[in-house]
Amino acid sequence: MIGKRLKRTSTQRAKAARSPPEVDRNTAEATGDQPRLGPVVGVGASAGGIEALIRLFEAMPAESGMAFLVVMHLDPTRESGLVHLLGQHSTMTVAEAADGMVIEPDHIYVIPPASSLTVDDGQLRLTEPVERRGARYPIDRLFESLARHRRERAVCIVLSGSGSDGTEGLKEVKAEGGCVLVQEPSTARFDAMPRSAIEADLADHVLAPEDMPDVLMRYARHTYAAGAELVEDRGPSDDGSIDPVLALLRTRAGHDFRHYKRSTLTRRIHRRMGLCDLHSVEDYVAILRSRPEEMETLARDLMINVTAFFRDPEAWTSLDETVLGPLVADRDSGAALRLWVPACATGEEAYTLAMLLVDRSETAGKHFDIKLFATDGRDDNLEAARAGRYAEGAVTGVPKHLLERHFDKLDGIYRVKDELRDMVVFARHNLLRDPPFSKIDLVSCRNLLIYLEPAAQKRALALMHFALRQGGHLLLGNAESVSGREDLFETISKKWRIFRRLGPTRHDILDFPLLPGRIRPDDKELAMADDDRPHQRIVDVAQRALIERFAPASVLIERNGQVVWFHGSTGPYLEAPPGEPSRDVLAMARHGLRAKLRHGVRQAIEEGRAVDFRVRIRQDGHEQAVAVTVAPLPEPSENLLLVSFRNLDDAPSSPGTADEGDIQITHEAFEDELRAARAELRDTIDEFERTNEELKAANEEVTSMNEELQSTNEELETSKEELQSSNEELETVNSQLVNKNHELVNTTDTLNNLLASSEIATVFLDKDYCIRWFSPSSKELLELVDTDIGRPVSHFAWKVQDEDLLSDARTVLQKLTGIDAEVRSSAGRWYLRRVLPYRTHEDRIAGVVIAFIDITVQKMAQDEVNEARLFAEAIIDTVRHPVLVLDRELRVQSINPAFSDAFNCSEDESKGYLLHELDHAAWDIPELRQLLGKVLSEGRSFDGFEIEHVFPNRGRRHMLLNARKLANGGDHANLILLAIEDVTERHDAETLRQTLINELSHRVKNMLAMVQSIGSQTLRQSSTLEEFKLAFKGRLNSLARVHDLLVSENWSGADLDQLVRRTMAPHGMEDRIRAEGPSLIMAPEAGVAMAMVLNELATNAVKYGALSDESGQLEVTWDREDRDDGPWIHLQWTEAAGRPVTVPARRGFGSTLIERSITHQLGGTAALNFREEGLHCDIAFPWHEAIRSRSPKES
């Protein structure tokens, strides 16, 4: 056991020379504690995973030497019962993982909730998850750490679960050579997680959980997983043991891995052997021969290339700043940018670069023709890259804004948007075998060189140097460098491996593979037949044969003496010196040659011509004469010199064996021959040199032409890929067009039906007024059949009277606005004829559309409405009441003539004014506004509403208002019709009438009161009823008479003369009565009083006085008298010649009445003098009292 371990350690040390970090870790591990720890198995499970875990662990034997790390997606807030549960179903020790715990065999470690479990040198590491909840990928984290620390001894199992957690981590595991087991999706309750791993082509075995332990045990037992004994047991020539596999891959599958690092290849081939449970390369080769799918699997595994979006973010940031920024800044918008990502794997690196570039150019506001060539040797990789679909876990490295900008999220998968996808051209290409692209601005080739042998690395670097334009940049992986080719690249960033191309294009270092074409799987037969040898043209064969036969042994040297080419057998002249290998020709020159050769070379360079000299070279004790020619080569190889050696035929001289004569003769003959031979030789050499020059030139030309052709070919290959994608696009577009066509057919059907059912006659005309199309219903107006399409519309007679149709159509075409007109058909129907421009979807005018819409019914209705309106307007205009129409704001809409007459307010001064502004705010009547508001809001009407308002111009007016809301028709919904009746005159007359009635009543009552007084007084004075009757009648008659007089004088006054005469008239006896005086008009009241007084006097005269007999005389005189206090009226009643008068014993009512009437009522004096000859009454009263009238009472 110990010996084995030591042995392995020494082997690992030998390997450490090639890849130190990897081996150191293994060494440390190998010296770990007892018992030996087998593979560490990471188990990832999620939904439905408990059931799968139970099935797995129930089938697992107790002592396998393996340790299991179980990661599930657990609720971070709840205790996990998983430890307990698994403990019941497993014979192994189950423990909850804790930070720093040492991993021991036959243990199961379960992740606690809300943590991230990783491994580190045989210990568990437990950390807080850094990602937010919901974006955690704990399975990926575990698998990644297993890959990093356990390498080929990492075994990972993906069980039931939803999502894609684990897939990203498995990529690392595969890259490091670990083993991946995935649950058979049909046995999983949730198959998304297993499917994701299988679809990413990462599963080594797809099994039911209970079948996994068997595979695990076999894998653990296998030497690959157990250690490196397999390699070691083969002895020193172990590396060679994989050669048959590589040869098979090369010949059968077209994959040439000869340039790949042996260690990596060995590890991976052994891993496949481990998975196939094979222990010898021969067995494996047999399997490979019999199972082509294993060949493919192996090839895929060998080419594993781990990549990720923004892998090493700092490197990309640095690239972005130091390379992309200046690149975008230097180029003009619209320029081409060419980039190349060799070995692009599944495209992440290429898309990362494209995203950065797009971001840069958008920031700079430029648009570039971006060509990003992404190439890989694996078709399945390219397909995945072209699809551009990535699991959620794969895009975690993409910054959020770029993720949103460039990816569509579809059902848990992120898909690259077409814009970005179209920038990247994916093509199959093998960096080492296929010619490179050219004029590239940036080559990003990360983590490819590490897999290559140093020689292949140098070649790859040279190819990339060729591919880059002057000053172009190269980005390499973290562990890679341009070592060995420092002359080609200068370092821009040592840390992030950014380099810049130096110097001009170096064809000399280029080594384009001169294959007639790529070996594709189709070319297998040919490739095997040729056995990888270049096909040679017959002329080449001939030339080579000639040169080998006749040309002297030569070397081609540079001016500094470095040999670049050996031709023929140069061994007699040159030999390898001891010590470090050297190409210096002087160092190699054999004894005797060196000094002359140095001189000859110098001379040839200085003089620019061929220099001949002879030397004697000593070798193995004898000498040999040698003719040496140093010839500078013509352009373009002017820096090269050809040094040719030719043995001379002078055998070592053996003096004294022949006589002088013979010698002389022989010598001369030899001399001649030698001269001839020399001349011939010179010619031959010249010829040869010329030919050689030509060949060199031709070769150069062919090489460069070939380079160009190869580049062109590459471009063509790339173009082909573009064409194919274009073709795909066209196919897509075509299917879209087919769809669109279907839609159009449907739309056409719909439109046809619509037009047929609309009954609107429609005719489309083109720009020349020819018929393009017409609707079926237009046949009613135009005699048309389908064949009339294309004929000028002017050829047809319309059945409508529409002379303006064509001129309107012309106007529409010029002004591009529609024209409407009402036209009448010969059948008496009315149409709205509408002409509109015919616009195509590009907004181009292609003619006119004429539509005839039957409006007969509307037209008739409109006529009726118009008539009704005129009728109404005529009524409004002719009524004598002022009428006005108000809108909802009480703004005057119209007034009738009666209004303008009545309120002296013309239509101009009123229309459009608010009601309360009208006529200098004369109409600002709050109660009217309130009322109209009610009409508007409640829709009520009112009639006969009386208002009294003082108008500044017209004084107080009484008006009756009628208002109606005009509710008929939408436009009139809020109009008010207000009719005004001015009733001021009527109102005044009414007032006057009332006054008069009151006055009349008063008077009648007064009169009745007087009559009553007369009655009661008379009654009081009368002794008999006869007496009363007589007196009362006389007094009433007197009252009636004065009333007659007053009425006849229209109650304006009573003439004293008339009073006297009328009082006396009933008694007759005019011959005995003399009445004399001026006409004096007295006020009615004074007249009445005077009449009563005169009646008493007359009655007394007739009854007792002068008129009671046959002879008495009566004289009544009156006149005006001017006194101190103004004019007085003085009346004298004088009786004479009657019966003798006696003074009455008792003062009668008559006397009282006379006295009181004059004194009290008229303010005068009355004296009754009962003289013997007859009664004399002297009455005087002031004139002003008599005419003082009781004017109608003031109210």
């Binding site: 009553q1012 007084s1013 009437s1157 009290h1160 003082r1188």
Partner: protein
């Protein structure tokens, strides 16, 4: 006698009436009931003078004397606390002055009895018992 008239006897009464016949009638009635007639006036001015010069117990007033409203007289009487009776042919009107509106009325034409009854009612505050 429907109404006692003893209380009215001896009351000093002013009569303002421009219609002489009615005045005579009133005068006769007042004589009958035993009132002392302080003045018989036919004008507003005369009535006011009489009021100021005499000590009155009551007054009978026509609404209007020669076209002049009796209002100043009525107001003077109200001010002096002298009761009065309006004898008028006019009915009550809304815009009558306060002194007129609140005074007791006797509508013309009136009978002797109705005058007596009205006086009895109007002058009961000053009636001699």
């Amino acid at each position: 006698m429907l109404f006692p008239i003893e209380g009215l006897a001896g009351l000093r009464i002013l009569v303002a009436e421009d219609e002489m016949l009615i005045l005579l009638d009133i005068e006769a009635i007042l004589d009958e009931v035993g009132c002392e007639i302080v003045g018989l006036v036919a004008s507003v001015d005369a009535a006011l003078t009489t009021i100021r010069l005499n000590d009155l117990d009551g007054a009978l007033l026509d609404m209007s004397l020669h076209g002049k409203r009796i209002t100043p007289v009525a107001e003077e009487l109200v001010a002096r606390g002298v009761p009065f009776l309006l004898c008028t042919g006019y009915g009550r009107e809304p815009n009558d002055e306060a002194a007129i509106r609140d005074a007791p009325r006797l509508t013309k034409p009136f009978s002797t009895d109705s005058l007596r009854a009205a006086m009895n009612e109007a002058f009961k505050s000053v009636a001699r018992t």
